[in-house]
Amino acid sequence: MPTTAYILLVLLLPLTGFVLLGLFGKRYLRRLSGVIATTLLLGSTLLALGIAYNYFFGPDYKSPAGGRLIETVFKTTWLAFGPHLSIDTGIFIDPISMMMIVVVTFISFMVHLFSLGYMKGEDRFSTYYAFLGLFTFSMLGLVLSSNIFGIYVFWELVGCSSFLLIGFYFDRPTAVAAAKKAFIVTRFADLGFLIGILILSSRAHTLDVNQLIETLTSDSLNNFAKSPAFLGFPLISWGLTLVFIGGAGKSALFPLHIWLPDAMEGPTPVSALIHAATMVVAGVYLVARLHLLYALTYDVLQIILYVGAISAFLAAIIACTQTDIKRVLAYSTMSQIGYMMFALGTFRLPPPEPVFNPSLGLTASMFHLFTHAFFKALLFLCAGVIIHLVHSNELKDMGGLRKRIPLAHICFLIACLAISGIPPFSGFFSKEEILTAAWRADKFIYAIGLFTSGLTAYYMFRLYFAVFWNKPASGHPHKQPLVESIPLAILALGAAFAGFIPFSRLFTSADLPFKSEGIGTNAIPPVLIAFTGIGIAAWLYLRQSSRPQKAATALRSLYTFAYHKFYVDEIYLFVTKKIIFNWIGRPAAWIDRNIVDGIMNGLAATTARISATIKGTQSGRVQDYAWFFFIGIAGLAVLFIYIVT
């Protein structure tokens, strides 16, 4: 089937870029490296768009129920451990993976293009593009893998390449620390993911995602009843919770979010690619991929619901107080990911109530993922332009920039309107669906979501006014290279109009027919609260005044609390430095130094002592040896003649 070959090509083109630039980039392709990588990615993007168009609109993949076929198009055994246990690789196509390859390749291509201008003259230009290729490859592999172990392998590759990209400026200690932090925190979460995989596959006896879902859902009641309980919770629920923890680590959800703001130490286009549009949605993608399993377990869904809502809310509050433009954007990412996550948590109502429209939460979440990729990448790329202009990340160094970078100004405004959920920009439609799903599932979560959407509008427009207004506009337009302007313009178009894609008709769970949730009066409260947020932001930041200062003083305790990110970092530091280092690290070091090393050193010392004692027998005199030989033979003779017989 030709589609398989095309999908493989989509996957392998970025890898080709990585290998080519990684091997020859520094010496031979220095000048060309950016162009080569961008061209390869262009090919990959066009192919992905074609495949996805064919999948969603073509006749080949229509399922009998009117939805889209879900199938594994390519499968091969990779590691065979035995007749019944093997790890396969394969390519899996369903609406989620088709949408994800479009998002990943498209955003990655935009970032490649933008970086041609942004990273120009950088010392490790070709290395940068090699890493981008590796990252794109691993992300594509992650979304296309048909085997959960394959997903895990690519998941780690994504973590590894993000480590490389965050620590790209490895001569800055902060970047090194941020890279290490991101790596360790996500690794810690991945441990949960791995254990979760093992639990699930040991129950289902397969590692293939499709079969896993089929086996566990087909006789689910049976399976859950039989499934042994651990701490009063069925084993499968534990497995799913652990997998969710893995996803929460990658997606920077509440207790594991601490790496995301620090990861802003990487180059800005990298932040756009990894920490806005692709890598952080890996967790959402994972939960969405396994949503049929999560639908079985009400408890785990509640965890997802609340973790998502808490992340959305806390991150929005923190974002209101930060003064570093990239950190504000990072927290807004975390908040939006929280939205996607709790939308997935609404997948099913509590058991006694009738299931309303199970697929609404999933569709909403994926829709928001799609639109978020556009406006968040746009925001980060604009931030890159701004940072290059003022050479600072701090809001106080900016202001009145609207005349100097008019294009970035317009784009930033569009993205802010989109993320705030103002119609008719893309974010409005997706956020609307999420809030509808939340309303149906849990009124409390809906209230949090609604309030958070007001906060979102406030902090985004705080950023917008502080950067582009606040001070009187001055200066003439800054000349911007074309390779930087084009991605901004394309992404702005996407952020403005992506909402009109009839997402809900293309995208349902397990081929369920979709009942449209029309946008009606339910759209009024979110839009009103968003306008309120914008109004407050304008009142505080449109002109330079002492109002922000006064507001901060009035809410002093809350402000300080939020400014220090609710002291989560300090709690982690306390736990690691004071508790883990003192009570686990030190005893372990003592055991290592005294017992493990002690045994080894003791063995060596004993051997040395024995050999020192007996080495005198090796005198170097031939006749002594002849004596030993003679005595030995005589002894043997005596032994055999008189004693043994």
Partner: protein, 104 residues
């Protein structure tokens, strides 16, 4: 014919063996030590021939074995003398005590 009893011959060969052993362990000159080794080998030859003659007169294995030993002794003497000559070139001596480098 009154033949010489086997025990006499064995006493001779044992005496020869221990004379050789004594020479090997006490002489300092490597050539002399080599000669002592020849004595030991010859005492074994005597044993082989004597046992062949007295116990299995109809067979010839013992005689052939001693022929082999003579051949090997010749080869061994050639090798040993080559070693001794090389040692002499290096340390200007054939005293076995002088060659005591190979030790701990």
């Amino acid at each position: 014919m009154t033949s010489i009893p086997l025990s006499h011959i064995l006493i001779i060969s044992t005496a020869l063996f221990f004379i050789g052993m004594y020479g090997l362990l006490t002489r300092r000159n490597m050539i002399t030590m080599l000669m002592s080794v020849e004595l030991i080998l010859n005492s074994v030859n005597i044993n082989f021939v004597a046992f062949n003659k007295y116990l299995y007169p109809e067979k010839l294995e013992g005689v052939f074995f001693s022929l082999f030993i003579i051949a090997i002794a010749a080869a061994e003497a050639a090798v040993a003398i080559a070693i001794i000559i090389n040692l002499y070139r290096n340390i200007r001596s054939v005293d076995v005590e002088a060659a005591n480098e190979m030790k701990f």
